[in-house]
């Protein structure tokens, strides 16, 4: 049984295969509209989410399948004290595939160990969020036409931001990418990312405190929210939350073809005035999230021998899955 728990479960060629399938879905939506007819996705969201849950649900609906599930632990049997393991075992009796978000790190991994159907990690605390990473990669591929040879600035909460950690790990496997880490010292990227990803693989990186000093160098800027729920101390949150706000003034020195990404939700770290600038990609990025989840679910379902309602030429476009067993 294959699952997707950690973004590094996937090799570069497997990622490329999922992204290429997503591009084919974008180009030829009608051909995929009945692909999952009769199939059911269960969304087990023990923690609130808007984009991720709705994009999973929209993805399954656009593939012609159905959706069941819950959107917070309060509306599940977790309130009665049911374990995560039991919840997943029961739901895997009803659904063909599960997307699971949980505040505890490793919960989807445990879910995958007890499930009879594929489990997709839709975010586990501050740990992993592999479908956001796939979304980010598809966005870069569509905006830049490539996944190599660029300078990316990662800005904001680089300490607790799971999307940042996953994206760094995924991009570190492509050629000639320079990373610029823009954060206050309190929210620097964890030491293990520096030592195990950048230094171990001899990847060029630098850490700076302001985005203005590096703006002209960037091909991509990836903005993140300073998340209140990741702080133990509210005073620290209040002190830091407005530190890094991108506005039209700061974009004056930016390249004409800069791509501005953000995993969303945004609070105020990107001024609304930036939204109409063609360099703002974050709403297109949210759209890409749906397409890449369609591609991922098709790949997992096919790999787990689910019969898909697709013509042979489209079935042939679905690659093998190398995710966690």
């Amino acid at each position: 049984m294959k699952h997707l728990i950690d973004p590094t479960d996937l090799s570069v060629s497997e990622i490329d295969s999922i992204l290429n399938l997503a591009l084919d879905i974008i180009d030829d939506k009608d051909k995929y509209s009945e692909a999952c007819k009769g199939k059911k996705l269960a969304t087990l969201f023990f923690e609130p989410s808007t984009r991720t849950r709705l994009s999973f649900e929209a993805a399954m609906m656009e593939l012609g399948g159905n959706v069941l599930g819950f959107s917070s632990a309060d509306s599940s049997s977790a309130t009665k004290g049911e374990s995560v393991g039991d919840t997943v075992k029961v739901v895997s009796c009803y659904a063909d595939i599960i997307a699971m978000r949980h505040p505890k790190e490793g919960a989807p991994m445990y879910g995958a160990m007890v499930s009879d159907v594929p489990v997709i990690n839709a975010g586990d605390g501050g740990h992993n969020h592999p479908t956001q990473t796939l979304t980010d990669l598809l966005t870069i591929k569509r905006e830049k036409g490539r996944l190599d040879n660029f300078t990316i600035g990662l800005c904001g909460d680089l300490k607790f931001g799971r999307t940042v950690h996953s994206l760094i790990k995924a991009l570190s496997r492509y050629e000639n990418i320079k990373f610029i880490l823009i954060s206050p010292k309190e929210l620097r990227v964890p030491e293990y990312i520096i030592s195990e990803v950048f230094e171990k693989n001899n990847i060029e990186y630098k850490e700076v405190r302001t985005m203005e000093e590096v703006m002209s160098e960037l091909d991509i800027i990836y903005m993140t929210r300073v998340q209140k729920e990741r702080f133990f101390n509210e005073a620290d949150y209040v002190r830091l939350k407005d530190t890094y706000i991108l506005d039209m003034d700061k974009l004056k020195t930016a390249k004409k073809d800069l791509s501005i990404l953000h995993p969303l939700p945004r609070v105020n770290e990107i001024s609304i005035s930036v939204d109409n600038d063609p360099r703002a990609c974050y709403f297109r990025q949210a759209m890409n999230g749906k397409f890449v989840r369609m591609a991922l679910m098709l790949t997992l379902l096919k790999d787990n021998n689910c019969k898909l309602n697709l013509p042979e030429d489209k079935l042939a476009k679905i690659g093998k899955m190398g995710g966690a067993d």
Partner: protein
């Protein structure tokens, strides 16, 4: 002080002095229905002093627990009063329910009866990583 040699069982020798009781507890030897001798601070040419455990019963010993506590412990299997096998210990690649993850954000902190599983990531520094939250211990 003299302790009789055993006829059929296991001798754990070269235990670092002071660690015998931990080995006794972690191997759950208190649950065995046989004689177990704990010798502490025994004179040793090699170690200065050491601890020894003698278990007077043939028993499927958990070598991963022993390897994790101290890979230098000597394990001798005794049959009819003779040493028939010496087992070599190594730092185990996987620990299952031998230690617990201390990360309060880890699923193991709330899920009942979940197996605590770690994999060895750095042999030299004896670093194990929780398979769920990937915290190093």
């Amino acid at each position: 002080m003299k302790i009789d040699s055993i006829q059929n069982g296991i001798v754990l020798d070269h235990i670092t002095a002071g660690r015998a009781l931990r080995v006794y507890h972690d191997l759950e030897l208190d649950k065995l229905d046989c004689s177990v001798a704990i010798l502490q601070n025994v004179k040793s040419n090699k170690m200065g002093k050491k601890d020894i455990l003698k278990i007077d019963k043939e028993y499927d010993i958990n070598l991963d627990v022993l390897g994790y506590i101290d890979p230098n412990i000597s394990v001798s299997i005794i049959k009819d009063g003779q040493t028939v096998e010496k087992k070599k210990l190594a730092l185990p690649h996987k620990l299952i329910n031998i230690k617990k993850c201390k990360n309060p954000r880890c699923i193991t902190s709330t899920e009942q009866e979940i197996a605590h599983i770690f994999t060895l990531t750095d042999e030299e520094n004896r670093i194990y990583r929780c398979i769920y939250c990937e915290a190093d211990k």
